[in-house]
């Protein structure tokens, strides 16, 4: 790559030196060095401090953002019903997928190869057969691999936590393959443990591992992809998923 040649590096160093010098020269430096974060205590919206029932708050906000929670019953309105037993995750997912079975070929269900054993333990991979085609995505995946199926129907992914403040699901993706699961499919299906619901943005960031611990990218997802670029009319599924489906378990 041309950029790593000797002269370019020198130019980079010179530019850096000049920019930093200009910023330093004018900096009205007073007092001692700062702590890294300017806010010793985060300033939270009042409702965050007040909310005790985090699950309820999270579910309400996420639903307002067009997230869909799968339940065991048919049309349960209560939040409690949206928290399902871990043992029934597999069945609930199967029931959902069964309603979406394609007419011709079975739709794809993408999952991360590194999570394979986890999904197997939950019995999901076996259980959903017949409703869809579970397909593992590994790090070797390229965009070109999807040219035949540019819009894979489903993906299955675990959220690292969720934020009650904003109704947001948090994904700490270690590989590009994992990130693909978040953005490529039409329906993004997410598994979330109730104990992983946190109150605020700050609390969520604490749960996101550092790059040194293997993180590649972190994604805070609040509802399905959307756009209002045409006459301010809101539409789901601009480029990312059209639906965000949550399996919230105990």
């Amino acid at each position: 790559m041309a950029i790593s040649s000797e002269s370019d590096t020198r130019q980079n160093a010179e530019s850096r030196a000049r920019i930093v010098a200009r910023l330093r020269e004018t900096k009205k430096a007073k007092g001692k060095a700062h702590t890294l974060s300017v806010l010793s205590q985060p300033v939270l919206p009042k409702f965050v401090e007040r909310e005790q029932g985090k699950t309820e708050a999270f579910v309400a906000r996420a639903e307002a953002l067009s997230c869909r929670f799968l339940t065991e019953g048919k049309t349960e309105k209560k939040t409690v019903a949206k928290v399902i037993a871990k043992s029934s995750v597999s069945k609930v997912l199967r029931d959902f997928l069964a309603t979406r079975r394609g007419k011709k070929a079975l739709p794809l269900l993408l999952f991360d190869v590194l999570e394979k054993s986890y999904w197997q333990r939950l019995g999901i991979l076996k259980n959903v057969e017949g409703c869809c085609r579970p397909t593992e995505v590994s790090e070797e995946v390229e965009g070109g691999d999807f040219e035949a199926t540019p819009f894979p129907a489903f993906s299955l992914q675990r959220a690292v936590c969720a934020i009650a403040e904003t109704g947001t699901l948090v994904f700490a993706n270690r590989t590009r393959a994992q990130a693909l699961l978040t953005f490529l499919p039409t329906v993004h299906i997410v598994l979330l443990a109730e104990r992983d619901i946190v109150g605020s943005l700050e609390q969520a960031f604490v749960r996101v591992p550092s790059s040194a611990a293997g993180l590649w990218a972190c994604h805070l997802v609040s509802g399905p992809s959307r756009t209002a670029d045409i006459e301010q009319k809101l539409h789901m599924g601009a480029h990312g998923p059209k639906e965000l489906v949550v399996l919230l378990h105990r």
């Binding site: 790559m1 950029i3 980079n12 530019s15 850096r16 920019i19 930093v20 200009r22 910023l23 004018t26 900096k27 009205k28 890294l36 974060s37 300017v38 806010l39 985060p42 300033v43 919206p45 009042k46 409702f47 906000r61 953002l65 590194l114 790090e139 070797e140 965009g143 070109g144 999807f146 540019p150 947001t168 590989t175 978040t182 953005f183 943005l201 700050e202 960031f205 996101v208 790059s211 293997g214 993180l215 590649w216 990218a217 972190c218 994604h219 805070l220 997802v221 609040s222 992809s225 959307r226 756009t227 209002a228 670029d229 045409i230 006459e231 301010q232 599924g237 601009a238 480029h239 990312g240």
Partner: protein, 485 residues
């Protein structure tokens, strides 16, 4: 692509914009929505003021310590395998990106005002690459060969009919009956289909960033469509273009800014996708070859010159667009009249300052008069979540014009002011001239058909062209009149 504007001044372009019916229709549709959603978003939190103050503190400190934070960012990012490039000028930034794109042809782009600022697309196209803007609004604007007219909603000036026509022209396909405009849903679907193909085959993804987080060495990207993320993920090379003032210290600080950013911009509490990118996607065992590489280009282009000076406060801007949405001038004429990528009140301050750092003399002249195009109503200051004193900054820019007049208009203003100063220093002279002027005004108001008003007056033709001037019937100033009683 960057056909900036047709006219040579804000004045001309604004007048043309007011005569453009489809633009006016689009602006009318957009207007109220932005305001209502923003005010709802802030009304729903009791301590909105405190949240804004926290964000302001974060930004103030980040701008103050910009040098140290940038160096920390670079150090952390490098340690994670990210390359960091420093660009002093637009030209330098362009050549860095061009070098990174050498030999690659298919480029997808997420929304980036910095890339508009350095006119990157033009350079990439010239180098023979295929560049696709992937934010729907940006994509529309790119097809129309225009520049964004709003920093948050780039195609806000386009009507559905215009977009339909653009898509038909560029996407080909079958024709639908004349006069039938497709639904926005259909148009979104069509763009999704076409751009998805571009994502899958992309070699380089270029995005902007909302914040660089020093502590984590990561770039934060906020989108609603997910296009920025697909740009970052799908291609093997991800280039982030960032103005140096995008820096913040930590995630905690970023959270404080995030709380007011989306609320101010679109009335959302967060924005659909907030992503942190700061690594190369190594295998989990750490031995595998990185499958992606990431580059951050730090763009100065006049920003460091603003630091510590009279325009320092402007560096705090988080590009939420609230000042645009609440500006009566912006909502009347749209973004293109401002002649460059930044519009509305923030553009009136930022454009002249950034243009000065560049080499484009025409652009410099074009945007120099922007600070004068304000009625100083002050609504922008009221809604700015990070407390930027936009009107004061515009006044300071006007002051600089006064001190260093440019062109005939500049000198006219200066001479006018010097004349006014003279009158103010000599109240008696002021009184006699005023008395004379009032008598003349009364004579002028005697014309048939418009008794008691003046329909045309030299010197204030800008007023009388569209408005009468109600005159003082007694033809005597209040001070003299009341003194006599």
């Amino acid at each position: 692509m960057t056909s900036v504007s047709s006219g040579k001044s804000f004045h001309d372009d604004a007048a043309a914009a007011l005569q453009n019916p489809s633009l006016q229709a689009a602006l009318d549709k957009a207007g109220a929505g932005f305001l209502a959603t923003r005010s709802r978003a802030f009304a729903s939190i009791e301590n909105a003021q405190a949240l804004c103050e926290a964000a302001e503190r974060v930004r103030t400190r980040a701008v103050h310590d910009m040098a140290d934070l940038l160096l920390l960012f670079e150090q952390r990012a490098r340690a994670q395998g990210v390359s960091v490039h420093w660009a002093e000028t637009a030209e330098q930034a362009r050549s860095i990106v061009l070098a990174l794109c050498a030999g690659k042809r298919r480029i997808v782009k997420g929304k980036s005002m910095a890339s508009e600022e350095i006119e990157l697309n033009e350079a990439l196209l010239q180098a023979g690459a295929e560049v696709v803007e992937t934010d729907l609004g940006e994509y529309i604007v790119q097809l129309a060969e225009e520049i964004p007219s709003h920093i948050i909603a780039p195609a806000v000036h386009k009507t559905r009919a215009q977009i339909d026509a653009l898509f038909r022209h560029h996407h080909g396909g079958r024709k639908t009956p004349e006069g039938r405009v497709r639904s926005s849903q259909t148009l979104v679907e069509e763009a999704r289909r076409i751009i998805r193909k571009k994502f899958l085959r992309a070699e380089v993804g270029i995005t902007g960033t909302n914040m660089l987080i020093a502590e984590r060495g990561a770039a934060l990207l906020l989108t609603n469509e997910g296009n920025g993320d697909l740009s970052a993920i799908m291609a093997e090379r991800h280039i982030v273009l960032a103005g140096i003032e995008r820096i913040v210290a930590s995630e905690k600080d970023a959270a404080a800014v995030l709380r007011v950013l989306a609320r101010s911009a679109t009335g959302q509490s967060l924005g659909t996708y907030v992503s942190l990118y700061g690594g190369t996607g190594r295998g989990t065992d750490g031995t595998e070859k990185p499958r992606k590489d990431m580059h951050v280009v730090l763009l100065d282009n006049g920003r460091s010159a603003m630091h510590g000076g009279p325009w320092h406060d402007m560096l705090r801007c988080i590009r939420c667009g609230a000042c645009l949405n609440h500006c009566p001038v912006y909502t009347s004429v749209g973004g293109h009249a401002y002649g460059w990528v930044y519009s509305g009140p923030m553009g009136k301050v930022l454009s002249p300052l950034l243009a000065e750092a560049g080499t484009d003399a025409r652009l410099k002249r074009r945007v120099a008069a922007l600070p004068h195009a304000s009625s100083f109503c002050g609504r922008c200051v009221e809604v700015c979540p990070v407390g930027i004193p936009l009107t004061s900054l515009m006044r300071k820019l006007r002051n600089r014009h006064f001190e260093r007049p440019q062109g005939i208009k500049g000198w006219k203003t200066r001479l006018g002011c010097l004349g006014v100063r003279l009158l103010f220093a000599h109240p008696r002279l002021y009184r006699s001239l005023l008395a004379l002027a009032l008598r003349l005004l009364k004579l002028a108001a005697r014309g048939k058909g418009h008794v008691g008003r003046v329909a045309w007056l030299p010197g204030i033709g800008g007023w009388t062209k569209t408005r009468d001037l109600p005159v003082n019937r007694s033809a005597r100033a209040a001070i003299t009149l009341l003194d006599d009683v």
